[in-house]
């Protein structure tokens, strides 16, 4: 780690810089066109409107991309009295076709922390693993687990040098801190890091938000919360073309994370609807 000498002038700021951060990030990612990849796995991004001035213009990559990246998903997470619920759909889309109908968008980082992923699937998987490695190293060096806030800060600072490149990671970190309380952070590769009680990320997120905002309360039971999360993802998959297939739900408590079996909700809900209609 290199630290510049502090010369005494108030304008001289100390700049800690690890060597790897001074390498150009665009040299990463050269894909050998001769290697066949059977498993193209990308996700769709949330809506982009040309709203804010000074939005970073997309830089032309120095390496030609094998296919145009596009992103789409619905993930959500919220805190309630029973811990944290994280839910996501399982569709990986690539430019208008479904590349994989059974992908996993909620990745465990350690026993008490899971992260939902949105953006480019490969980037998310890689950075989650890097985060898991760094958290484990921290735990070994300091004898205690890093809090969710610390993990979010670490991830945000690791992603910051790649701002302005094609890297796209939008994750919510759902964890339980030090046996005391649940914690939820949203981290994005554009540098955003927000602490909150309810987040939804992805192209289907507006649809999920509208269902969640009407139902999320602190006092929900675990069954009610899971049911609400599944409904929200299902409604988003119904309306959003880039979200679909099944629903994954994870529940994080002081004992760690627990995974609910993957469910395909469309048939269930259509069947229910038909039964209700036929009973009228």
């Amino acid at each position: 780690m290199a630290l510049q000498d502090f010369s005494g002038s108030p304008l001289h700021l100390s700049v800690p810089a690890a060597e790897y951060l001074s390498e150009s990030p665009i040299q990463f990612g050269q894909i050998n066109p001769n290697i066949a990849s059977n498993f193209i796995n990308t996700l769709h991004q949330d809506l982009v409107l040309s709203f804010p001035p000074g939005f970073p213009p997309s830089c032309s990559p120095s390496v030609p991309l094998p296919f145009t990246m596009s992103h789409g998903t619905t993930t959500l997470a919220f805190i309630f009295q029973g811990g944290v619920i994280a839910a996501a759909d399982t569709r990986s889309s690539c430019n208008g076709l479904v590349a994989c109908p059974a992908s996993q968008k909620i990745l465990p980082v350690h026993s008490h922390l899971v992260g939902t992923t949105s953006g480019t699937s490969a980037d998310c998987a890689l950075w989650k693993r890097i985060l898991a490695r760094e958290l484990r190293l921290y735990q070994l060096r300091h004898g205690r687990r890093l809090s969710t806030a610390g993990a979010a800060k670490l991830l945000a600072h690791m992603l910051h040098p790649f701002k302005g490149t094609e890297l796209c990671v939008a994750a919510t970190l759902c964890g339980w801190d030090g046996g005391e309380r649940p914690s939820l952070y949203y981290v994005c590769s554009d540098g955003t890091r927000l602490q909150g009680e309810l987040f939804s990320v992805g192209s289907g997120s507006p649809y999920a938000y509208s269902v969640l905002d009407g139902g999320v309360r602190w006092g929900l039971t675990v069954e009610e919360a899971t049911s609400l999360a599944r409904q929200a993802v299902y409604r988003a998959t119904h309306r959003d073309a880039y979200s679909g297939n099944c629903v994954d739900v994870y529940h994080i408590t002081s004992k760690g994370w627990a995974r609910r079996d993957r469910e395909e909700l469309h048939r269930q809900i259509v069947q229910q609807f038909k039964t209700n209609v036929s009973q009228c």
Partner: protein
């Protein structure tokens, strides 16, 4: 879409910022604090591009803390301004109270323009509120009058700005330090 405002009085500076953290068309968080404490009597208000704001503000904040630790005294307010152009797209208001110079409000933007001003605002809301400040500001405002002026500005935003800003954090800096005032919630907003 974000809004910052600062009003300097004879022995205080009043600052306010909205509380929304947005991502494209969605409000992700309605209680975001956009003010960063640089020292006991200096606040940095920071808006702009998503990640840049917090990264930049925390960078400045931690370096100033480091300076304080190394030199056992704080940076005076005017040195809290950095004058070199940066790749960060952030607009800032720096507000503080100095022992020798008294209260001060500095307007900075992403092109590294710097101006000391009696009142200042950032964001689309500035277009609507600067003329109110021009009309009603006096250098000898009392604290209550400054808060009333701030309320006038926020009511105007509530009325005319197309974007709903549901609440604003308000702080006051004087010789006794930084004081949190009541959050302002415009009438008619939920």
């Amino acid at each position: 879409m974000e809004y910052l405002i600062g009003i300097q009085g004879p022995d205080f500076v009043l600052v306010a910022a909205d509380n929304v953290a947005a991502s494209s068309i969605i409000q992700m968080k309605q209680d975001q604090d956009k003010m960063f404490k640089l020292s006991d009597k200096i606040l940095l208000l920071c808006v702009g591009e998503a990640g840049d704001t917090v990264q930049f503000a925390e960078y400045i904040q931690k370096n100033i803390q480091l300076y304080k630790m190394r030199n056992e005294h704080s940076l005076q307010q005017r040195y809290g301004n950095d004058l070199f152009p940066t790749p960060y797209h952030v607009n800032l208001l720096l507000a503080g109270f100095d022992e020798t110079d008294g209260p001060g409000l500095y307007f900075m933007d992403y092109l590294s323009a710097l101006a000391k001003a009696p009142f200042a605002a950032h964001g689309y809301g500035a277009y609507l509120t600067l003329s109110i400040l021009d009309r009603y500001y006096r250098p000898d405002l009392t604290r209550d009058e400054a808060v009333e002026l701030l309320k006038k500005c926020i009511e105007e935003l509530n009325k005319r700005l197309i974007i709903n800003l549901p609440s604003f954090s308000v702080r006051l800096i004087d010789k006794d330090g930084i004081h949190d005032l009541e959050k302002l919630v415009p009438v008619g907003a939920k």
